[in-house]
Each structure stands twice: as C-alpha cells, then as structure tokens.
Symmetry: none
Subunit: 196 residues, 4 copies
C-alpha cells in the first residue's frame, strides 16, 4: 500500500522531470503530466493538492537524491584534499548524468518558486548548507583558505554547475580530463597557503 503510494508519486515525479526539462514549468500542464504518467488528472490531485505543491515536493525529492549521491559513503579515512576532489567530482557527475534533475533544479532556483521555499529554508541554493559544512570543516582544519565560507562555496558550486551546463548545452561528449583540470583549478585556488 505504502509502496504503491511511493511508486505512484515516484512515477509522477519522473515524468514531470522529463517534461519540465523539455518544456519548462509553464510548458508542462498537469494534463500532460497525467498523460505521460498514465494516470488521470484527478489522480495527481489525489497525491498533490496543487501544481505548486507538486513542484515543491519534487524539489525536495531531487534535493534528497542529490545529497544521497554526494555525501553518502564518503570515506572518512581519505585526506581532505581527496574528499574535496571527490565531492566536486560527484556533484558534476551527478549533474551531467541526471540532466532532467539538473535542469529542474536550475529552473527552480531561478523561478519565483524558490522564493517560497527560500522563506522557510535559508541557505537554500543547492542545499549549500551541506556544502557549507563540508567547506567550513576544511577552513577550520587549515586545509582551505581562511575566507568567508559562502564565498568559497560560490566558487566551488558555481564552477561545477557552470561546467555541467556547458557540457549539457553544447551537447558535447563529456571529457573526464577537462573535469580533472577543473578540479585542479578549484583546488589550487582554494587550498591553504598557496601563496607561499
């Protein structure tokens, strides 16, 4: 029963993601979501009280997927540098291989929906709080330069997002070497005493 519910919501989420990537929020009517999900319009309203709530729940669903992918099974025994590189690597990989989620998240952050969410959840963008924590740890332990952690996070995430977008938009085959170079750039720029 509970499985069924989860399955149906999941099903609606997945098809909504595809449609939104293709046509945007407003190019995606509920009727189309219903058709793709192979349910009646009314059924969607059985699970979500409104389109807005559907979008908002979808946002949380995606956020969780991202976090799980990035922060789960992060070996604590490797050096901070390795972790830094691994996290960056994972964000980027996730974005590139989950283009429907990536596209949705970017649209979401740049839409009025985000304001709604943002009111409750400060530090919203890309659940930066997890990233903030991770980078703050690096600063505290002298792995990273002692600067405003928000600023550092901007460099960290913005670089990954922009790179992913560039790959996806140019519809260019993703070359792992480029990602490795990018990681070098961001590590070189962020690490402690790189001025010596």
């Amino acid at each position: 029963m509970n499985v069924q519910l989860k399955d149906k919501k999941e099903c609606i989420f997945q098809h909504t993601l595809v449609l939104i990537k293709e046509n945007g929020f407003h190019g995606t009517p509920m009727s189309q979501i219903a058709k793709q999900s192979d349910v009646a319009v009314g059924t969607i309203y059985h699970y979500f009280p409104s389109k807005e709530v559907l979008i908002l729940e979808l946002y949380n669903y995606c956020k969780n997927k991202i976090h799980q992918y990035i922060f789960e099974n992060l070996d604590e025994n490797i050096s901070y540098q390795k972790k830094f590189e691994l996290v960056f690597y994972r964000i980027t990989e996730f974005n590139i291989h989950n283009d429907v989620i990536f596209s949705f998240m970017e649209q979401f952050y740049n839409s009025p929906y985000f304001e709604l969410e943002h009111c409750n959840n400060r530090d919203g963008i890309y659940e930066q709080n997890h990233f903030l924590d991770f980078l703050q740890e690096g600063i505290n332990n002298n792995h990273l330069r002692k600067i405003d952690v928000y600023t550092l996070t901007s460099a960290f995430i913005g670089t990954s997002v922009s790179f992913s977008k560039s790959i996806l938009n140019r519809r260019v085959e993703y070359d792992e070497n480029n990602l490795k170079e990018l990681i070098k750039i961001i590590w070189q720029g962020s690490k402690q005493n790189n001025e010596i």
Copy 2:
C-alpha cells in the same frame, strides 16, 4: 522619431525586467507590462510582433548592456592579470548592481527560450564568446593554464554568477573583501605554472 522609438522600447524593456524579476516570465502577462509601461497592449504589439520576440529582444538588449559594461574601456596597457581581475570584478559588480537584468538572464538561460536563441547563436551562455576570446588570449600568451577554454570559462563565469546569486539571495550587504578573495581563488587556480 527614432529617439522616441528607442525610448518607448527602452521603457517597455525596463518595466518588463522589473516584473520578470518579481514574478517570472509566466507571472508577467503582456497586460501588466502595458500597464506598468503606461501604454496600451496594442502599443507593445506595435513594437514587438509577439511576447516571444519581446523576450528575445530583451535578451539581446541585456547582453549588449553587459558587454558594454565589461569590455568597454578596458585599458590594453595593463598586465593580463590585472585585466583578468578587472573583468571578473566588473561581471560581478554588474550582476549585483543590476539585479533585474541578472535575474532575467538567469531565468532566460534556464528556460526553453534559450534553446530557441541557442540554435542560431552557438556558445550562447553569457555570450561566452567574448569571454572565450578573452580567456583564449590568456592561454595563448601563457598567462593561463593550457586547458580546454570552455572549461576555464566555466570556472571563471560560474564562480562570479554563483557569488552574485549568493549575495542577492541572502540579501546580504555585499562585502568587497569577499569579492577580492574570490578573485584570488580564481586567479590562483587559473594562472600558468602555479604548480612550480
């Protein structure tokens, strides 16, 4: 006459920008643009054949504003590093002080509109071509690391965009010192032989 035309278009552009930042593309009907611009709906259709074209022209209008601001009067006699830093500084300043344009551009890039534009104009994001040229020059002249220029551009622009967004979203007073640190990061990471 020509001035009048430019003025009226300009007027429509400005009010559209404000409305779109506030309410998004689809929360901004033509009727509202008309009301804010103090003209009749029909008048807008006198200047633009459709809403889509209005948006597309607005995009080009903004693009030009940005380029003018960033690349005009760029003293050729200063060192590449200074120019690198200046360009980064200018992008970020522009974004922060022109939030309606910044918001519009971000919405645009993450909307289906961009696809339309993108078909004609390759290398679309943030008119990366100018930035691409600028960074390519740095690579060619051994100021920057010899890596894929698109990748480098991602780091350059993504960092600025993300930082600007962080300032604007957190509604935090912008601290120039943080921007200076950010510039250090991106320069340290990008410059040639920083591994020596």
Copy 3:
C-alpha cells in the same frame, strides 16, 4: 440491522444539513459529507444512488419532521382560532429552532431540485397540502374569509417564513411578544367577518 441503516442514513442527513446551511448545495461535495459523517464516500453511495437522490430523500426527511412537529398532537377540542394560532406558532418555532432544516428547505424550494420534485408532487411548497387542508377546513366552517385557499395559505406561511428568516438573518434574539403580535395580524386579516 434496520436500526443501523436508519442510524447511518440519519447521521448522513444531519451532517449534510449542517454543511448545506453553511456552504449551500454546491459548496457541499460528497467527499465532505463523507468526512463529516465519518464514513467513506463509497458508503454514502451504498445508501443513496446519487447526490440528487440524497438531496431528494433529505427533503422528504425534513418535510416529515416538520409535519410531525406541527400537526401531531393537535388537540381537536380547542377552538379553530386557537388551532390556527397554535399551528402558526409551531411553524415559526420550528423554523427558528431548526435553522439547518429551515435553511435547507428554503434553498431547496428555490433551486432546480424543486422542479424535479414538483413534477410528481403538485402543491409542493412547504407541503402546503397539509396547510391547505387545514385552512380549507377553516374556510368551510366559516372561521376564515371565503377566498382562494392558495391565497390564504400564502399569507399564512409566507408571513411565518419571512419572520423566521428575519430573526435568523439579523441574528437577533427571538422575542416571543413579536411573534404574538404577528399572529394577531394574520388572524385579524384572515378571520371571517372582520369587516363588521
């Protein structure tokens, strides 16, 4: 078993009345009736084949309640005038103390539902047939003026309904003296040879 059935129908009736007074026929979906009655929607459809039938049965349920209240235990040994006054008194008291039924009946009579019912049951309004009979008796026995009995009934019932509505709408505490005055008016106007 039969008790159970009656109880469940009764329960549904009562909650429907409250909801309809509050929100009207069309502001009262089956789902809400179900929720208030603490049963599933399907259960309602077990007892009533459709919403229309539910409403129609509810109408008959109310009609019977009203008649029982008004005409049962009507002492035949008192004078016609006393009976006339008592009946008027009872209608009004009933309306005022059973506002959910009163409101439902008034909505019903002024809705297209009534047409449906009316086709089968002529003389529908307020089950005027009982009142018609009662007043016809007064006419026949020279207690009341010899005029069209429908016209007389209009004066009789319309006055009571309008008075009740006035009390209920103004949300004014009901003053029995006013009702007594009203009864004087209607009796003075209706009784035989009041012109002498």
Copy 4:
C-alpha cells in the same frame, strides 16, 4: 462608449437572469452565459472580475430595478392606506411579471452569496430598509399597529413573496381578485385600532 458598456453589461445581466431561473446558479456556467449573450467568455471577464462579482452586481442591478418600480412616482397626496395597498400591489405585480428577477432574488437570499452581501449591508432582505422606512412611517402616524417594525415587514413582504411564488410555481393564470383579497388580509391585520 459609456452606453456601449452599459448595454453589454445589461445584455449579460439579462441572459444570466434567464439562465439562472432555468438552471440555478450552479447550473449556469460562464460559458453558457457567454454563448447566450453572444460574446466570448473573456469578454465577460472584461466586465466582471469573477463569477461571484457578476452575481453580486446582478443582485444590485435587480435591487435597483425593484426599488425604482415600487417607490418611484408614489403619489404623496393619497391616503396612507392607498399607498400601503399600492406598494403591496406593486411588489407583487413586479414579482409576477419579472419572474426571472424574482427567481434570482429568491435564490440569492437563500444562498451563501447573501452572507457576503449581508456583511456590508445590514437589513438586506428585499432591501427591507426602504420597506422598513415606509412601514415605520405608518406606525409613527398611527396608521399601523404599534409593533416591532421588522415583524410588520415580515408580514408585509412575506405575504407578497409567498403569493407570487404560489402563482409562479403553480403556473396558474394570475387572478387579480385574489391579490385584492390578499391586500385586504394584510391591511386588516396591520392597520391601527382594528380591534374596536
């Protein structure tokens, strides 16, 4: 221009009245009003922001029609009794000959719409305030019995309404003699010192 506006609103009002008498508020979709009025749905929304407001404005439109009909050109030189009879006569005539308005008003008063209106305008029913004033005058000048004016108004209006409804529902040819008898009833009941 102003005439056109008034004409279009008037046109919408008239067709709405017919439809509502036929099918009730909720059996009358905007699309049908549009079709009957020979305009597009959007046009209705050009004149009225919502269905609710259309209904509310229609209510005021009807109220005014009724008042004009009843209280305009009321010869001040005739006796109070004559005026009393004339006003009663006019209400009833109006109801019977304007069945679409009458039906609308009755539905309105017994619907949740009325609550909305009622909040602003106390003494709402049948714009009783005008009737209240008229009857209060009769009480003050010793033409009518000294009782609560609301109670008196209930008898006055309720009787007329009920009579009109009886005519209209029974689809019986209206016999003016019955109305004259009714007027006798109500006058006999209401006039001063009728007990002597």
